[in-house]
Symmetry: D2
């Protein structure tokens, strides 16, 4: 059955999943549970998957590539940054607190942003040619609010966002179980939610498809989007609008 | 100079720009002025560009494809929907009011959403294979807030979002001139803002690049993202995460 | 039992609830159902409650008080504006579509904003002395995203926002029943959600308490917040920060 | 001139300003510069003002009152929490990065949220009776996006939000000077922006007015908003809406 045969190979691709839970290992992260489902699909296709729990690292505040050069005694970010740059795919994962992504997620985005001054060999922003997605869980409300900020940040940095590049789970309004929590009847909250299953699957495959396309194309074509060329005065057809 | 020669032809592509200003024609729309700069780049590459001012049309409230089938005497949306579906590229343009996109932009997104139940021949959401961007102007504050919602909505519907797919102009905090307004010194507000020029150019070219890539690839590969296959029970490698 | 006796009378207060559903009457609005619970508490206290379904009115696009003076043949907004100004309390009610408030809600906020140039007798923004809240329903995700925008807009216009001034209901992630829809077991979705019941009750009473306080105080004291005095040069103790 | 005489005394009030800049002392914080202008108005009225730079403290991730009870070796938050609870007024101050509040601001809100399970003597959420505001600076775009989240979070926790309770400064779209930076002509960016001056002044006075009103009223009246009474079954007039 043709649906079951992927249209390409993906075993030359690498993906980094950064889980922005507030809980250090070995505490259970509900968000990581959902992330595992996505990572598993990628691993089955031979993708090299790296899973990082950001809160386990000492990530300094700031928007410079290495904050030890700006007064901080320690900064674990540069090592994570290298992993991000070695990967074709980045998935940010975060819980929801008060309807918002976690402070750890905000920190990770600030540090990714700290690299946005760097360019690739074509003079494009260094993140070009990569694809990004996001996974969100909470016990109530906020997937879309969180995802719109995370995906916006990624595309602003240079990531391509495939269709339906977010997925998540929340329960009905009000306090309640988190994703994967055992319920009174012995089942696990959210695990049988077909909407979450479907969105997670679609996100994962769309990340693979776009990463494949971009890798085969050698990245985003270098025309009309190179900061170096712009700074030299090239305008790529831009003319100021005429006022009428 | 290689930078000046585009890496491909784009004259088989079509783009729709929907301006969501609150002002009917022939009133001047500051947002349209910025849009013209982007459209001009596309037209120079032979792209068939359609420019729609949504407020000039009678777009009924609702989330069904044709609201005349749901009690409304008139609904101009279905004709716009056809233009959107005939195009490879969609750019939503909106002013900012109280930090938010316009009510016309919200209406347009609701109606685009009304089509999200429709599938293409591969069983994917009908918007798959298309790319989306957004342009925003205001006299103060809100480009990113507006863009994160617009771009999120587009990717949720099935659009691919290229890198840096938004651009805009706002002035310093506080009331002041809108984009293109004549200033005391005879110049025009925002027109010389190089950041706005650059972002508009990069957005436009990245839309072209991704539209080209997707068109040449025959759309997003149909695997792992087909609602029909999912409904028939195909899971594309998704397994529930194991609780540990 | 002291808890059961309200600490004041409220029968001199007036409240306006504007329902921003996309569905005209007589169609059922799930959001209105929740609104009724709040209105009922107010009515029992003698508050004069007016319920408006915005989509039943022809509200022109724009940000001027009366758009018939700006080229529109019809504009039902000025009559609604008068009702809003006659009331001590304003509650905006909206469904969620694609994680966002409705286009009708956005339109209502734009038109409220169109009055923000008007001042009261003390030279304060005309909305001062009033209190605002919001009610939101959807079948999944978005109460907080919607409420943060609605409440922000209201406070920006001059409304005071009491504690916990929003309430709502959403179901588990994914499509599903809306508030009040009959379920297979004959019960109604959301009606027994104690979190929604509690938040609706707390919001309603906090609106009453703050409206009472502000009315008894004769509004927000007129010092440090009068646009007229500011324009005449009064600075109320503001000094530019010293740069150190 | 009556405008110059405040309508009350405020020297029994206390305010805490938490600056959520990413930069530790003694680095200059542009946001703090604007905060100083607001604090100065309060100090002139005898208000006891405490200024905290959050990044100088080791605030553990999590949503419990004291994270040293949950595996963290150190947590400076409980001392800050006490200061917040000792104050009538809370102002959160944050820079903008990628259109968003800082990770430090997100952390502070998470920790404030960690106290939301605590009740006052009337059975209300412990933050009741207090007022909140926010100050935001950046070099471009995002005041309203940031403020709507910060103010929403504060009202959700139990704070009352006065009219126009946010202020800030941003420059024109694109990179540029931050608030207070010296410009080529020797002036300081933003310092002469009358909109920023006015909003900062109005915010400050409206915080004072509402704090005064609430203190004189003994807090928010305890009826219809007490979690303890609700848990005992009191419903304060709430009835489920009748389905029609």
């Amino acid at each position: 059955m043709s649906d079951r045969t992927p249209p390409a190979r993906y075993d030359d691709l690498a993906a980094v999943y950064i889980n922005c839970t507030l809980k250090p290992r070995p505490e259970l992260s509900h968000t990581e549970l959902l992330g595992e489902a996505s990572m598993q699909i990628m691993r089955e296709q031979g993708v090299r998957v790296t899973s990082i729990r950001a809160v386990d690292h000492d990530i300094a505040p700031g928007v410079q590539p290495d904050m030890t050069e700006h007064g901080f005694a320690r900064d674990d970010w540069p090592a994570i940054q290298r992993q991000v740059l070695d990967a074709d795919i980045l998935v940010l994962m975060t819980p929801i607190w008060l309807g918002e992504k976690s402070s750890v997620a905000t920190r990770v985005i600030e540090r990714l942003y700290g690299w946005s001054g760097e360019l690739n060999d074509d003079g494009q922003y260094d993140y070009y040619g990569r694809v990004g997605g996001c996974l969100v869980t909470g016990n109530e409300d906020g997937i879309k609010h969180v995802a719109m900020n995370v995906l916006y940040s990624l595309q602003h940095l240079g990531y391509t966002i495939p269709p339906q590049a977010d997925a998540g789970w929340i329960g009905e309004a009000g306090p309640g179980p988190s994703y994967g929590d055992e319920l009174d009847d012995g089942s696990r909250a959210g695990l049988d939610n077909e909407f979450t299953q479907k969105n997670t699957t679609f996100m994962t495959w769309n990340l693979l498809h776009l990463a494949r396309l971009l890798k085969d194309a050698g990245g985003i074509p270098a025309h009309g989007n190179q900061r170096t060329a712009w700074q030299k005065g090239e305008r790529f057809g831009f003319h100021n609008p005429e006022y009428r």
